[in-house]
Subunit: 342 residues, 2 copies
C-alpha cells in the first residue's frame, strides 16, 4: 500500500500538491497534474479513506441498526438505504442487534461518532430508545426510521410511516368488499409496533359499525410459521370468518397456507390482506393483496434527514417527517364474500 508521501516523492512534489490533484482542489498546473497522475496509476495508489475521514472529521460510514437483517423486509430497506448513501459518498455499516439490548448497546458505543458518522435506527419492537436518545445527547446524529406510533412523539428526529392509516386502508378494503366477519392477526406482541396497524383496523371497523371480537384476534411472531398457526387458531375459534386482516405480509402468507390446508378457497371462502408489500407478496400464490409501504421513499427520506442532522449539528430540530401514505395493492387474495355475492 503506497502512500501519498511516496507518490509525492516520486513525482518530485509535496503531499499537498498530490492531494490537490487527487481531489481537483486548488490550482495545479497541467504538467504536474499529469506527472502525478502517472505515478498514481503506476503505483496503483489509492488514498487511505480512514486517514482522510480522520482529518476531515467525517467518518465515511453510516450505521443501520436493525434487529435482524434476515427478515425480508430489512434487506429491501437496507438495499434502498445503501443506494441513497452511496450517492452521498457514504458506506453502509450493518448492525444486527438480534433484539439483544447488549448487542445494540455495543454497536452504538463502538460506532457512534467515530466509525460511523451517524446512526439510522429502524423502529423495531425492542428498539432501545433510551440508548438512542443518550447517543443523540452525546452529539451523535441519530435518526429513527419507520416510526409507527402516530400519537407518540419519538423524542428523536424521525421518518414516520403512517402504519395506523395502513391498517385503516386494509380494513376499509375488506369492508368495501362486503365483509363483516373479519379476524385479525397481529404480528407482534400486544405492545409491539404492529398494534398501531391493528388500531387502524379496529377504528375502521368501528366506524363501519362492525364489532371486533377479541376471540377473532391473535397476536403472534412476525413469521410465516407463526401466521399459519395463528390463522389456524383464529379460524378454528371463528369458523364463520370470511376475511383475515394481517398486520404484515409474512404472517399473511401463513394465513394463506392455513386456508389452503383447510381446503378454503381464497378469496371465495376467505380473503386475506397483508401489509408492507415485500417482494414476495406478488410472487406468492395466490398473490397477496396488501397495503404497500414505499421502502425506497422511506430510505431516501431517512438518509436525507440524517444528512440534515449531521449538517445542522446540535441545532437540528427533532422533526418528524411523514412518508407518503401507504397504498392499497389489490391482488388475488381478496374478493367479495360468497354470501354477499349470492
Amino acid at each position: 500500500m503506497s502512500t501519498l508521501a511516496e507518490v509525492a516523492r516520486r513525482a518530485g512534489v509535496t503531499t499537498a500538491t498530490v492531494s490537490n490533484v487527487l481531489r481537483n482542489k486548488g490550482r495545479v498546473s497541467a504538467g504536474t497534474r499529469e506527472r502525478v497522475l502517472a505515478i498514481v496509476s503506476e503505483l496503483g495508489y489509492r488514498p487511505n479513506l480512514n486517514a482522510r475521514a480522520l482529518v476531515e472529521g467525517r467518518p465515511l460510514t453510516i450505521a443501520l441498526v436493525v434487529s435482524s437483517i434476515a427478515n425480508p423486509f430489512y434487506p429491501e430497506f437496507a438495499e434502498a438505504v445503501e443506494l441513497e448513501l452511496r450517492k452521498h459518498g457514504y458506506f453502509l455499516l450493518v448492525c444486527n442487534t438480534n433484539n439483544d439490548p447488549v448487542q445494540e448497546r455495543a454497536y452504538l458505543d463502538a460506532v457512534g461518532g467515530s466509525l460511523a458518522h451517524g446512526v439510522l435506527a429502524m423502529h423495531t419492537d425492542h428498539v432501545q430508545l433510551d440508548e438512542l436518545i443518550a447517543l443523540r445527547r452525546a452529539g451523535i446524529p441519530v435518526v429513527l426510521s419507520m416510526w409507527e406510533q402516530p400519537d407518540k412523539h419519538p423524542e428523536l428526529p424521525c421518518v414516520a410511516v403512517n402504519f395506523y392509516q395502513a391498517g385503516v386502508i386494509a380494513a376499509e378494503h375488506l369492508i368495501a368488499l362486503g365483509h363483516t366477519r373479519i379476524g385479525a392477526i397481529v404480528g407482534s406482541e400486544r405492545t409491539g409496533k404492529h398494534v398501531w396497524r391493528y388500531r387502524g383496523f379496529c377504528d375502521a371497523m368501528k366506524a363501519a359499525g362492525i364489532a371486533v371480537s377479541s376471540s377473532a384476534t391473535c397476536y403472534c411472531d412476525d413469521t410465516i410459521d407463526a401466521g399459519r398457526r395463528a390463522a389456524h387458531s383464529v379460524l378454528a375459534a371463528n369458523p364463520n370468518l370470511t376475511a383475515l386482516f394481517t398486520s404484515n405480509d409474512l404472517p399473511a402468507f401463513g394465513a394463506l397456507q392455513a386456508a389452503a390446508a383447510l381446503g378454503l378457497d381464497v378469496p371465495g371462502d376467505l380473503s386475506v390482506t397483508g401489509l408492507t408489500d415485500i417482494q414476495l407478496a406478488h410472487q406468492f400464490r395466490p398473490a397477496l393483496t396488501t397495503v404497500a409501504v414505499s421502502t425506497s421513499e422511506a430510505a431516501r427520506l431517512s438518509v436525507e434527514m440524517l444528512l440534515k442532522v449531521i449538517k445542522d449539528g446540535a441545532e437540528a430540530p427533532v422533526d418528524v417527517w411523514a412518508a407518503a401514505t401507504p397504498q392499497l395493492v389489490v391482488r388475488d387474495s381478496t374478493g367479495a364474500p360468497r354470501d354477499a355475492a349470492a
Copy 2:
C-alpha cells in the same frame, strides 16, 4: 465528542496513560486507573475507532461484496458473516454491486485496504474475478466465498461449497424414489454458476442410465417468478414428467406454484427439489425438499480464512477450503411417482 487528550487533561495524566487504562495495557496504578475511568464515564468518552485504526494500520471493517442483498440467500449469509466478524472485532460493510461492474469496481477501489481491512466476495454470476485478483496483487486481503466450480481453480483463496455434489444428491434422491422422467430448471444463465449444480444432476442421471432431454431443461433467472414460468414451459413441453430438479430454492417455489396452478398434486403427480435450503424452504407449503448448504459454516470458514490471509499477508497461499458436503433435507415436495407406487 470528547477526546483522549481532554480526558487526560482532566485526570491530570497524559494521553498515554489514559490509552493504557482503556485497553488494559501497560502498568497503571489502581488509583489513576480509577480516576481516569471516572472521568471517562463522566464525559461519556468513547474512543475514536478510526483514529485507532489509522495508527494500528488495521481498518475495522470487512467488506462483503454481493450482487444484491435483496435475494434472500444473501441476507442469511450476511447475517452469519456479521456474527463471525463481530467475534473478531470487525464490523460489516455491505457492498451491493447490483451485478454492475462499475459499482463493483468503485467499491473495491474505495474500500480495499483503508476503509475495510479485507474483502469477502460472494461467488455470483457476474463476479469480476479480474478485479479481485488485481486487488490481491495490490496487497489487499481477498477471499472468495461460496465458490462453486469444483474443477476450476479460482486463483484466489476461497471457501468452496460442493454445489456439484448438491446437484448429484438431489438427483439421486429423485432417482431413488423411482423417478425416471425428470425435468430441470436452472436458475442462471447457461454459463452461470448454477450450471455446476446442473452438471451434478446430469452426471447422476447418466450414472443411473437415465437420459436428460434438453427440452426438459430450462434456464431462467433466480427468482420465484422466473421459476414458475420455466416450470410451466417445461411441463407444457414434457407433460409426462414426474419430477423437477431445480438449481435453487427460489425457482423451486415457482415450480411448486406452477404445479398448483396446473392442478398437479405434489408430490403425487410431481416432485420438486430445491437447493440451498433458505429459511423460506421449510415455511413454504408444501414444504420444500431441498439440499441444504450450511450458510453459517460457510460464513465461519470464510471469515476464518480472510483473517488468516490478513495475518499472513503476501505469503498467504491461495488455498481452497471445502465446506462440508451439502445435506439432503426431505420435506413434503418429493415422493414416489404415482406409477411406481401402483
